[in-house]
Symmetry: C2
Subunit: 338 residues, 2 copies
């Protein structure tokens, strides 16, 4: 099922986020301490549920980006650690609520919190983490950072509702799909990157650069994620091919395959997505159709488009290890599909 | 099923919140406009779900308290209108999430949003309203008000998880019950009242007075609410006697009746609450036991205790229409049980 994507610029498939990890290692140690402390509560169920998700092997890309974006402008205080933790909590809260919304039993190959503790705990612990995220932002005291992150919180929820309203609708256009992923995924990447220059008191142009980098990186990230669901190496990624298909999600590989398909093929997609016929046989058929229409390759081409915009957003900035690391992240996101 | 409670201080059962309504009428007009505007979205499902709940006949006690608390200290700007709207959105978000957690089909005699649009929409629109609440607070720009309200958001969620963890546990002590209602209900009343003097730049003592008034009023409010579920006039209140019983909630009337009951009675409560035997026959029996042990009257006595503390919290403040209105609210809350 592996999909090999030729990478431009001589990048190999071994692209990693190693530079970003190294540059933020010390600060991430403080973020991880803060995560444990702020997810704590005398109400035992809160750290239980929170730690289940927090320890489940996410890359913590978003908080690392906040830290690197602050370092990029020479920031030396500790506000970026609190903001990075806030960003990770907002992300974790979204995942907890998403699992309830999607009725998911597995995330990253691990049983979801809602399966173990019930929907109730997932909803409420998500609310708690969101509250804690806001408290940390308030503690930092930057109204600009608060504005950026609270706006992102509204936009993310709006994007999730948009996705819900469009659920199982094969007439969803590519534009509508792009609007959904911009809101539900790219908005948080964008906010995570923009608050770095904000606490570092960088210029408006620098803020705009990081905001644009994050937004476009987030678009690329989600597009690749949606492509991976119809290919990629499940073993290394901890993601199962076909999850989105089985949940009837109308992502870009489906949108392209449906639009490019014959009337018979469209009937197949309708039975599958709207009629919930999404067993193993149907998944095999779907993978065949997606391949026939080049829908994975074209989804990645779209991702690369956003990746290039993200790269150019950083272009005016002077050379630095942080800049190099952030560019490497773009390559990593796109080369995941290998 | 009516429970008549003799009210102290010569108050009649006709106590209302009329003074509060009159004093805040003009500002509430602006709050209502802001509610409609900030619950708006191009994603049609958001205003649909939000308006379903917003228009369902709540008293809007919390935002009125924020407005009156700001007026009490001569505030003449418009920050209190935004904060009052934020408070109402936080409350609405909590209700949306509560309905999912409680699996409720009815609220105030009206079909819940989750029954019409599904759990998914209730979770996500709640998240959206919470995000909008924070944006409005950020817009006001008071870090103190942000601190108070974001802390309340965490505490409310913590209280809800506490309640969930203690669900159907008849060994819940009165202290544990009090801790739950303090977090899930009283914390928001307290924050709603405290942000008034904060935006009015009142003294620390005045802030403390309003915080204490709100906290104790909230305790009284929830105790009476829990008493009403085992009595009161359902027709006028839009609340059905027995809702809590049917959901197996361990509220103070149950805690007192269980603790005071015979071994046979305790077995009855165990079958009902833990074994979900909560039909009409069991409800009749439960009402009989609650009455026999004076559990409603004593729940109201506890409420009155907190009401007195709320009244004394305001005692040092000079006489004013706002002060009189806020004291009337205490009487109203307690006299609801009639």
């Amino acid at each position: 099922m592996g999909v090999v994507v030729p990478l431009e610029g001589g990048k190999t498939n071994e692209s990693t986020v190693r530079r970003l990890v190294d540059l933020t290692a010390r600060d991430m140690g403080r973020v991880n301490e803060l995560i444990l402390s702020k997810a704590g509560s005398d109400v035992a169920m809160i750290p239980e549920v929170a730690n289940h998700l927090i320890s489940s092997g996410g890359k913590r890309l978003r908080p690392m980006l906040t830290l690197a974006a602050a370092q990029l402008f020479g920031y030396s205080g500790d506000a970026h650690v609190k903001l990075a933790t806030s960003v990770e909590f907002m992300h974790t809260a979204t995942l907890l609520h998403d699992d309830v919304v999607d009725e998911s039993d597995l995330r990253r190959g691990k049983t979801t919190a809602r399966t173990i503790w019930g929907n109730q705990a997932s909803v409420l612990v998500g609310d708690f983490l969101l509250g804690q995220a806001f408290r940390m932002m308030v503690d930092v005291g930057s109204l600009e950072a608060l504005d950026i992150l609270s706006t992102a919180a509204s936009i993310i929820a709006e994007g999730e509702v948009m996705q819900l309203a469009a659920a199982k609708n094969l007439e969803t256009t590519e534009d509508e799909y792009m609007a959904v992923i911009k809101a539900k995924t790219a908005a948080l990447f964008s906010a995570a990157c923009e608050v770095g220059p904000v606490v570092a008191e960088a210029t408006r142009a620098d803020r705009a650069a990081l905001r644009s980098y994050g937004l476009n990186l987030g678009m690329a990230f989600q597009l690749v994620d949606d492509a991976l669901d119809y290919g990629g190496d499940a073993a290394t990624l901890g993601k199962n091919v076909g999850d989105d298909f089985r949940e009837g999600k109308v992502t870009l590989p489906v949108i392209l395959s449906y639009r490019r398909g014959s009337p018979d093929e469209r009937e197949f997609w309708t039975r599958a997505i709207e009629g919930n016929e999404t067993g193993d046989v149907e998944l095999e058929a779907a993978l065949g159709l997606v391949a026939r229409h080049g829908a994975i390759g074209d989804t990645i081409t779209r991702a690369r488009h956003f990746g290039e915009i993200a790269r150019d957003a950083l272009a005016p900035l002077p050379t630095s290890p942080q800049k190099a690391a952030m560019i490497e992240v773009i390559d990593f996101c796109i080369s995941r599909v290998s």
